[in-house]
C-alpha cells in the first residue's frame, strides 16, 4: 500500500472518519495503530526495529534529562545516538563499507575475507533516525523536554503521513499538535484534500510518466550526449515532481487530521544560487543538517577555511544520507564545492555582472542566475542518477561535451519519448508550470484559486481528478522512499 493507491485512500478515509468520531483521549491510539499498520503493510519485517528505535530514543531522552551535569547528559546522548546510528549504519552502509574495503584490498593485493551480506534496507530508517537524533540533541541542549507519554512519543516517531519520506519534523513542532484536540474543520479538510490531489497529479502525471523515459537513457549501454543532457534535465523534473508530490500528500493527510507539517519545497528549480537552492529543496533535511551538523562543526571556528571545511563535511553527510554509494558521496561533494565556490567568488561574480552590465537588467540577471543554478544542480544529478561511479563519470563527460548541447541533437533526443507520451507529458508539465507561476506571483495558488468563480474552481478540481484517473501512471514507488 503506497500513497498512490486506492487502498491508501480508503485506509486514510477510514482513519479520518474514525479520528473525528472518537474522543480526543483515544485519538493517539488510533494514530499509532494506523502508523504501525501502514508501516507493517509496507515492511512488516522491520516493525521490531522501528519499535526498538522508538523505545531506545524515548528512554534515552528521559535519561538525558535526568542527568545533572552537562557532561553526563552528553555521554548519554552520545550513547543513544551511537546506537541509532549503528542501526542505520548496519542496515544501510555495511555493504557499502564492505565493498569499498574489498575493492581497496584487491587493489593492494591484501587478503580480505568478509563476505557480501544480503541486507535489506529497512523502510524509512534514514528519516526516522534523523528525526530521533534531532530529538535527543534538542533535549541535550534544553530546547526540548523529554516526552513522558510513550504513546504520543511513538506517534512522533512513526506518524504515517510523514514516516516514509518526510518531512523530517522536530519534536517541538509535532508533539504538541498531537496533544491538542482538533475538531472537524472545513478549512483543514478542504485544503488537505487539495494538497493530496495535487500530489497525485504531480506523481502520476509528471514523475511516473518520466521515470521510464529517464531510465531508458541511464540504463542504455550507449546513450548519446544529447540524450544524457535531456534525460538529466528530465530527471531533475521527475525528482522534484516525485519528492514534492510525496510531501504534498504527507502535508495534505496530516492537515486533514488537523496537524501542520513543515513545507519541504519552495520551487527549488527557480533558485538563484546554490545556497538559495538548499533553502528551497528538501528544506527539513537542509535545516536538520544545518542545525545538527553544520552549526556544531562551526562552533568556535572563525577562519574562512574552517567554515568551508564544515560546509563540505555537511554536504558529504547529506550525500551519504541519501544513499550508500560513492555516486552519492560525489554528489554531496559536488554540492559542497558549489557552495564553497559560490561563497568564495560572490564578490567577483558581482563585479563581472556589473562589468558586463547584467546587473542593469535585474530580471535578465535573475533568470541568468536561475538558469546557471539549475544547470549546476542538473550536472550534480548525473552522479545522483548514475548506477556506478564509472557510469557517472562517463555520463558527466557526455553532459559537459559541447556537442551534446547542439539544439539539433537535443531536438532529436526528444525521440526517447513516444510522440503521444511527449504530447501528454508536455501538456501536464505546462499545467504544473502555470501552477508554480501563479504561486510565485501570489502567496498560494489555492488562495488565488479561491478568489476565482465557482465554475473556474470546480473545473480545475475536476480537471485534476479526471487527469489522474485517465492519464495517471502509477506503480513506481517514491524515489526518496528508497532512502
Amino acid at each position: 500500500m503506497t500513497f498512490i493507491s486506492i487502498e491508501f485512500l480508503l485506509f486514510f478515509a477510514i482513519i479520518v472518519f474514525t479520528y473525528y468520531l472518537i474522543p480526543h483521549r483515544l485519538r493517539w491510539i488510533l494514530l499509532l495503530a494506523a502508523s504501525y499498520i501502514f508501516y507493517a503493510i509496507l515492511s512488516i519485517q522491520f516493525i521490531p526495529l522501528l519499535l526498538a528505535s522508538t523505545a531506545l530514543t524515548y528512554f534515552t531522552g528521559i535519561i538525558i534529562e535526568k542527568q545533572e551535569t552537562k557532561k553526563q547528559k552528553k555521554k548519554v546522548m552520545l550513547v543513544g545516538i551511537s546506537v541509532l546510528l549503528f542501526f542505520l549504519g548496519w542496515f544501510k552502509y555495511f555493504n557499502f563499507v564492505n565493498d569499498s574495503l574489498r575493492a581497496i584490498a584487491k587493489y593492494m593485493n591484501w587478503n580480505y575475507t568478509v563476505p557480501y551480506q544480503e541486507i535489506v534496507l529497512p523502510l524509512a530508517i534514514s528519516f526516522y533516525t534523523f528525526q530521533a537524533v534531532g530529538y535527543l540533541v534538542d533535549i541535550y541542549y534544553g530546547k526540548q523536554k523529554a516526552e513522558r507519554h510513550y504513546g504520543y512519543f511513538s506517534i512522533f516517531f512513526a506518524f504515517f503521513p510523514q514516516l516514509v519520506a518526510g518531512p523530517i519534523e522536530r519534536a517541538r513542532k509535532l508533539l504538541p499538535q498531537f496533544k491538542v484536540e482538533h475538531s472537524l474543520n472545513y478549512e483543514n479538510l478542504n485544503y488537505g484534500m487539495k494538497r493530496i490531489a495535487w500530489g497525485f497529479f504531480k506523481k502520476t502525471l509528471i514523475a511516473d510518466r518520466l521515470a521510464p523515459i529517464v531510465s531508458s537513457v541511464f540504463d542504455s549501454p550507449n546513450p548519446t550526449g544529447s540524450q544524457i543532457v535531456l534525460a538529466t534535465i528530465l530527471f531533475s523534473v521527475q525528482l522534484f515532481a516525485d519528492f514534492s508530490a510525496c510531501s504534498d500528500i504527507a502535508i495534505g493527510c496530516a492537515r486533514m487530521l488537523g496537524i501542520n507539517l513543515t513545507e519541504n519545497f519552495k520551487q527549488p528549480h527557480f533558485a538563484v544560487s546554490i545556497s538559495d537552492f538548499w533553502s528551497r529543496w528538501h528544506i527539513t533535511l537542509s535545516t536538520w543538517l544545518r542545525d545538527y551538523i553544520f552549526f556544531p562543526l562551526c562552533k568556535g571556528k572563525k577562519k574562512r577555511s574552517e567554515i568551508y571545511l564544515a560546509i563540505v563535511i555537511t554536504f558529504l553527510v547529506s550525500g551519504i544520507w541519501h544513499g550508500a554509494a560513492w555516486t552519492f558521496v560525489l554528489w554531496g561533494l559536488i554540492h559542497g564545492f558549489y557552495r564553497v565556490f559560490g561563497d568564495y567568488t560572490k564578490h567577483f561574480r558581482e563585479k563581472v555582472a556589473s562589468f558586463i552590465q547584467l546587473d542593469r537588467s535585474p530580471v535578465l540577471h535573475k533568470w541568468v542566475k536561475i538558469a546557471i543554478t539549475f544547470l549546476l544542480v542538473c550536472f550534480s544529478r548525473v552522479f545522483f542518477r548514475s548506477d556506478s561511479v564509472t557510469h557517472a563519470f562517463e555520463n558527466a563527460q557526455l553532459f559537459l561535451t559541447i556537442n551534446s548541447w547542439r539544439p539539433s541533437g537535443i531536438v532529436k533526443a526528444f525521440e526517447i519519448f513516444p510522440l503521444l507520451d511527449l504530447v501528454i507529458f508536455v501538456f501536464f508539465f505546462i499545467i504544473v508550470q502555470l501552477f508554480q507561476y501563479i504561486e510565485r506571483k501570489n502567496a498560494s495558488t489555492w488562495k488565488w484559486l479561491a478568489q476565482r468563480s465557482i465554475f473556474a474552481r470546480f473545473a480545475f478540481y475536476i480537471f485534476i481528478i479526471v487527469s489522474v484517473l485517465i492519464f495517471g501512471v502509477s506503480g513506481n514507488g517514491f524515489v526518496y522512499g528508497g532512502f
Binding site: I6, E7, S183, L184, Y186, L189, N190, T204, D219, S220, E415, P418, L419, L420, D421, F458, Y461, I462, I465, V466, L469, I470, F471, G472, V473, S474
Partner: protein, 323 residues
C-alpha cells in the same frame, strides 16, 4: 453570571450551526465534483472498453463461451498471435497466444483449454527471443476473463475489478486504446518501416537485451526453461502432439537478432533441454525475410503473411506425420 452564560451558549450553538453548514457545503461540493468526474469519465471508460487492445483476448473468450473440438492450438506471445491462421487449411484452430505472454501463462492456458484438443491434436509452442527472458506478466488483465482467478498471479481484488469495470482508470489500457486510434501519430523515425525497419528492430533489440540482462540477474531463465520442459511433458502425458516453432521475421530484424544473439538468448537453453520434439525454425525463412508485404512491422506477420505462413506450417506438419 446568567448574562455571561447566555451569550456563550449562543455562540457555541452558532459555531456548531456554522460548522454543520460548512460540512454540508463541503459534502455538496464533493458530490458535485464526483458526479461531474463520473459523467466525464464514462465515455472514456467506454472508449477503452471497446478498444482493440482491451479486447485482444476476444477469440479466446468467444471460444470459452462456445467451445468446440480443435485440431491445433498455438501458444506464445505476439509473434505467435500474429503468426497463425489455419482456417483455409480446414483445420479447426484455437489461438492461445497473447501479447508478451510468458511461458507460465502458456502453460496455464494449455491446462485450461487443452481439453478441447482432439485426440492426437497438435500443440504449437512458439519460441521467440523473449521466451526465456520474459517473466513478468505485463498484461495480466488479459487473463482475468479467460482463466480462473486462482491461476492469476499476483491476484489483487482492486486491480481485478478496476480492470474489468473501470478500464479507463488503467493508464496502460487507455494509452493502448489511444495509440490504436492514432496509429500513425509517431515520430518518423519510430514508424515500423523507417530506415527499412532498422530503427524498429534496433529499439526492439535493446529492449530484449535489457529484459535478458534482468532475467539473468534475477535468475528467471532457468525457471522458464523448466516451464518449457513441463509443457512438453504435460503434452506427452495428455497425448497431445507438441511442436516448437519460431515465426519468420524481416531481414532488418535478423540483422540485430543474428545467430550469435539468438544462441545466447534462446538456443543455448533449448539445446541443453534436449527435448525430443521437432523444432521448426522459420526465423530466417527466405520466403519472408525480405518481403515487407508479409509484415505489419519487422517481427509481426500481417494477414497475408499469416495465411502463407500457416500453409507452410500445415504442409510441414503433414510431412512430419502430425496431421
Amino acid at each position: 453570571m446568567r448574562f455571561i452564560r447566555e451569550p456563550l451558549s449562543n455562540f457555541s450553538k452558532r459555531s456548531t450551526v456554522l460548522k454543520g453548514f460548512a460540512m454540508g457545503h463541503l459534502f455538496i461540493k464533493l458530490t458535485i465534483i464526483v458526479t461531474v468526474v463520473l459523467l466525464l469519465f464514462m465515455p472514456v471508460n467506454n472508449f477503452v472498453k471497446h478498444s482493440y487492445d482491451y479486447n485482444i483476448n476476444h477469440a479466446i473468450l468467444a471460444f470459452k463461451k462456445h467451445p468446440y473440438p480443435v485440431d491445433i492450438i498455438n501458444l506464445g506471445a505476439s509473434h505467435s498471435m500474429y503468426g497463425y491462421y489455419f482456417k483455409p487449411t480446414g483445420l479447426s484452430h484455437l489461438d492461445l497466444a497473447l501479447p508478451a505472454q510468458t511461458i507460465q501463462y502458456d502453460f496455464k492456458l494449455l491446462r485450461e483449454y487443452g481439453k478441447y484438443l482432439k485426440p492426437g491434436g497438435v500443440v504449437i509452442v512458439s519460441i521467440s527471443q523473449i521466451t526465456f527472458a520474459n517473466s513478468e506478466a505485463k498484461h495480466i488483465g488479459n487473463y482475468y476473463k479467460v482463466l480462473d482467478r486462482t491461476e492469476i498471479e499476483p491476484f489483487r481484488l482492486i486491480d481485478y475489478y478496476s480492470y474489468l469495470y473501470l478500464p479507463g482508470t488503467n493508464s496502460g489500457s487507455f494509452n493502448s486504446a489511444l495509440s490504436g486510434k492514432l496509429k500513425n501519430f509517431k515520430w518518423n523515425s519510430h514508424q515500423p518501416w523507417a530506415n527499412n525497419g532498422k530503427n524498429y528492430s534496433g529499439r526492439k533489440y535493446e529492449k530484449v537485451e535489457a529484459q535478458y540482462r534482468e532475467a539473468v540477474e534475477n535468475n528467471n531463465i532457468q525457471q522458464n526453461v523448466k516451464q518449457l520442459r513441463q509443457i512438453v511433458e504435460y503434452c506427452s502425458e495428455k497425448g497431445y502432439r507438441v511442436i516448437l516453432t519460431m515465426e519468420p521475421v524481416h531481414q532488418s530484424y535478423q540483422e540485430y537478432f543474428n545467430e550469435e544473439v539468438m544462441n545466447r538468448l534462446v538456443f543455448q537453453y533449448l539445446k541443453a533441454l534436449k527435448l525430443d520434439v521437432p523444432f521448426l525454425n522459420y526465423m530466417r525463412d527466405q520466403r519472408f525475410a525480405d518481403n515487407k508485404d508479409y509484415f505489419i512491422d519487422p517481427d509481426h506477420l500481417n494477414r497475408e503473411g499469416r495465411k502463407m505462413f500457416s500453409w507452410i506450417v500445415y504442409k510441414d506438419l503433414k510431412k512430419l506425420g502430425y496431421l
